[in-house]
Symmetry: C2
Subunit: 229 residues, 2 copies
DNA sequence: TTGCTTTTCAAACATTTGTATGAAACTATC
DNA sequence: GATAGTTTCATACAAATGTTTGAAAAGCAA
């Protein structure tokens, strides 16, 4: 068997099992059984279990980050070099939410894996997440351009809250579903993105004088450039 | 040694170690060494490792939940049976944020333990968290009374987002600190609570007509009843 | 083929970990 | 102070798990 086939069989099996059962109770033996390869293959191809997990997570993270930056770039080009704040926020939370929610995504192993990674947080993944700050700085910079003069602190809090709502919705979607007795529609991803973006922009315009109601954004659907979805 | 002393020595040592190093790499042997008790004592007093963790988490959760409900009750009494929406949200996120953030809390083992529990999420803790829905329903009910006529869905989303911002701030406070290069003051807990409450209430009044700017809340400090802090 | 590298494989290794055991020490009640 | 119940202790157990090893197999170039 060509060496790459073993490698990707392991990756696929690992992602599937981690997605289904979590990092906690999936062993290397489970993975190699699922992939139909020898136990030693994991250490041969990846060095260690942690490096396997890291590679899985890095791959998916890069995908998400690229989608984000593509959307951001598209928004900036559409706005003549300066993107509107709501488009920036949309680029920030859209890819993750679209990737992890939605009815047809039920079968997506990659999405379920990222949800797991968001819920369980094992050491190799935590290490990678810590390097994510550089990526977020690009969004902070775009936000600064979109809202010049605004205090940096407010920008960071807005960014932080946007990620909070997006990630928490992914993490706790079961609980929200149960709490609301199914009333909150977690399959309507577009509506959820709109909601998160709206609240984020509200948070960002928080300090505005209350007699400027126009600052409260009214968003419309379908603003995304679909170039890479 | 009286049996209770061993029991609480284990609890204290376990909470300290879990808080400092996480659930992942703290073994029973670490705990009993820290507590200066015999290895078998854990199983004798708690039955199993998981039950020890569960007891730790349940204890702290009950404390937080009680604080929340006390604040809610105080707000309802102050409002003549119907609490204002911002006071309800404050009661929801205040205790957790006050417990886990702030400069003097740096040394609080209980707080650091709860942060760990929020980040790592091991099976026994997950099981307990799943039962938390009943507790949240009480807040949903209070919110319904405070905003009659509003669609239930909106209430749940607002509640959900409030918890999102609070928990994410606790989970990712290091990252926010690093992203903002220290500009976001995570020691000013009161300001953070105000910020979360403000945005939450904004989210809840989202559907309001934009020509009612008064619906945007302007909050003041120091509204808490301190009866049980 | 020959010789070399890469990949696979079964088996063993070395720890680590939670848990169980049975005797000893202790405590309280009569 | 004898007895019964409780708690402590050293030690052993059993199972799981990531990793390593050394040889066999496969791939490949000359």
């Amino acid at each position: 068997m060509a060496s790459d086939q073993t490698r990707s069989a392991i990756l696929a099996a690992a992602e599937r099992l981690y997605a289904d059962r979590g990092f906690g109770d999936v062993t290397l033996r489970d993975i190699v059984a699922e992939a139909n390869v020898n136990l030693a293959a994991v250490n041969y191809h990846f060095g260690s279990k942690d490096e396997l997990i890291a590679e899985l997570f890095v791959t998916r993270s890069i995908q998400t980050n690229r989608e984000r930056l593509n959307e951001l770039k598209a928004a900036e080009e559409a706005g003549g070099g300066r993107a509107a704040i709501d488009d920036i926020m949309r680029a920030l939370v859209g890819p993750t939410l679209r990737g992890c929610l939605g009815p047809d995504r039920e079968g997506s192993t990659a999405a379920r894996f990222m949800i797991r990674a968001s819920i369980e947080s094992v050491p190799p993944i935590r290490r990678i997440k810590n390097r994510e700050v550089d990526h977020l700085r690009k969004f902070a910079a775009a936000m600064r351009r979109a809202m010049p003069g605004r205090d940096d602190t407010e920008l960071y809090w807005g960014l932080h809250f946007a990620l909070a709502m997006a990630h928490h919705t992914i993490r706790e979607k079961e609980r929200l579903l149960r709490l609301s007795e199914g009333k909150c529609d977690l399959d309507d991803v577009r509506a959820i993105i709109d909601r998160v973006v709206t609240v984020s922009v509200m948070a960002l315009t928080m300090g505005d004088a209350p007699n400027k109601p126009a600052a409260r954004p009214v968003l419309v659907h379908g603003r995304l450039t679909r170039q890479d979805l």
